[in-house]
Amino acid sequence: MDLLLTYDVDTTSPAGRRRLRRVAKHCEGHGLRVQKSVFEIVADEKTLLKLLHDLDQIIDSDTDSIRLYRLPTDGFNHVQTLGIAQIQPHREDLVL
């Protein structure tokens, strides 16, 4: 399924900046970064549960927030963009 994940991590303290990096790294392991704190993710239910659990362990629930949106089926095929945004290849082989 197609998911959109956004996060906001309080970076006023060194510990907060560390949490931000860990959240970002973790998200990079699951999906593609489309904006500074926005990820597009393709996952199944099992992987999603694990992802949410792991992120919950990382963040400070008093200051940070994570939002996850389940897009309708085929959601990433109907993304509209403006500016420098690019459509991400989630279900294609990649050639570099």
């Binding site: 790294k25 973790h26 990079e28 699951h30 993710i41 290849p89 990649l94 050639v95 570099l96």
Partner: protein, 344 residues
């Protein structure tokens, strides 16, 4: 059976650096500032062409996750493949070895593999003859008749060598007819016959490269099903040769590889500028040419084909997996014979 295709990463930009960072693949392309990351879990394989660096951490992680890494030469020749610890079903492999030792059973499989290839070659010729000019149509139809005769001869073949001989003769007839259904751009040297190691004209270069792509696809399919890719029925046992991969490739060569290459030339997707002429007469694809071909190959793999035995449409990229399963069922004794995939 999972029908969702995970992505394969193909890297052919020379000098690219691939590293592991936690669960992420980190890519540094030369001459491109910044880095790119990909989630490793969305990749089912990495294929690299030529001079690409992979960090040891990445290689070992792929081995642990059983995600194959395939090394190809810059020109697309298969070099090596890394898989993690064998996970395949020992009973299936045992059955495969037993069938290999049973001359009759081995001959039966080899015959059907070749029949599938010739049948599909014939289909290509007849298909192309339909839209060809009358003179060309005659050539293609004539070759198709020869192939039909070859299929008839197969059923009487009493040894693997005879099967191989029929296969070789049919391949020569088929490649002799190919120029009649191919119309390359006029600034390209003509295709006259199949040659390799090295290929000496653009069509042969593209064919060789595409066979490399197909081979890695079929090899992967066999591994996935748990068969031993090195124990073949037609190609037998040869050290270092993935004989079963070569066996199973046969029925796919005409439709998945040859027809793909024909289309690329006929549509002028491949042009003179996509080829380098090297000293000594060899011709190879340029970096742009490879990119063009791999890009088109990805799309080609998603095109669906009717599968008469499975009774449904199957994307080209999964056809080898379906056929590997059918072969496995035959080896286990669940199917009386191996049935090749035939295009329709």
């Amino acid at each position: 059976m999972t029908t969702e295709l995970l992505n394969t990463l193909y890297v052919q930009t020379q000098g690219t650096d691939l590293r592991l960072e936690q669960d992420t693949l980190r890519i540094h392309l030369p001459d491109t500032p910044g880095r790119r990351t990909l989630p490793l879990r969305r990749l089912d394989g990495i294929v690299v062409y030529g001079h690409i660096n992979l960090s040891t951490e990445l290689i070992t992680r792929c081995a642990q996750d059983k995600r194959p890494v395939t090394w190809m030469s810059r020109g697309g020749r298969y070099l090596a493949r890394l898989d993690g610890a064998a996970r395949s079903n020992v009973l299936l492999r045992h059955a495969q070895h037993q069938r290999h030792d049973d001359t009759g059973a081995r001959l039966g499989i080899a015959r059907n593999l070749v029949a599938g290839k010739i049948r599909n070659s014939r289909w290509i010729l007849l298909r192309a003859a339909r839209d060809a000019a009358p003179a060309r149509r005659e050539h293609a139809r004539k070759a198709a008749e020869d192939l039909a005769a070859a299929i008839d001869k197969l059923s009487a073949a009493e040894s693997i060598d005879v099967v191989m001989g029929i296969e070789g003769q049919a391949a020569r007839n088929y490649f002799a007819a190919l120029p009649h259904i191919l119309s390359t751009a006029t600034d390209l040297p003509p295709f006259t016959h199949r040659n390799r190691r090295p290929p000496t004209d653009p069509v042969n270069a593209a064919l060789s490269f595409t066979y490399g792509l197909l081979r890695s696809l079929v090899h992967g399919a066999l591994e996935q099903v748990g068969l031993d890719p090195y124990l073949g029925f037609l190609h037998g046992l040869r050290p270092g040769k993935p004989a079963l991969a070569l066996d199973l490739m046969e029925e796919f060569r005409p439709v998945l590889a040859d027809r793909f290459v024909l289309t690329q030339f006929n549509r002028r997707q491949l042009r003179a500028s996509h080829f380098d002429h090297l000293s000594g007469g060899a011709v190879s694809l340029t970096e742009d040419g490879r990119k063009e071909l791999i890009g088109a190959w990805q799309e080609w793999k998603t095109q669906t084909w009717e599968h008469p035995i499975a009774g449904r449409e199957v994307p080209a990229g999964l056809l080898p997996v379906v056929q590997a399963r059918i072969l496995a069922r035959h080896l286990r004794g669940e199917l009386p014979g191996y049935l090749p995939w035939t295009a329709s």
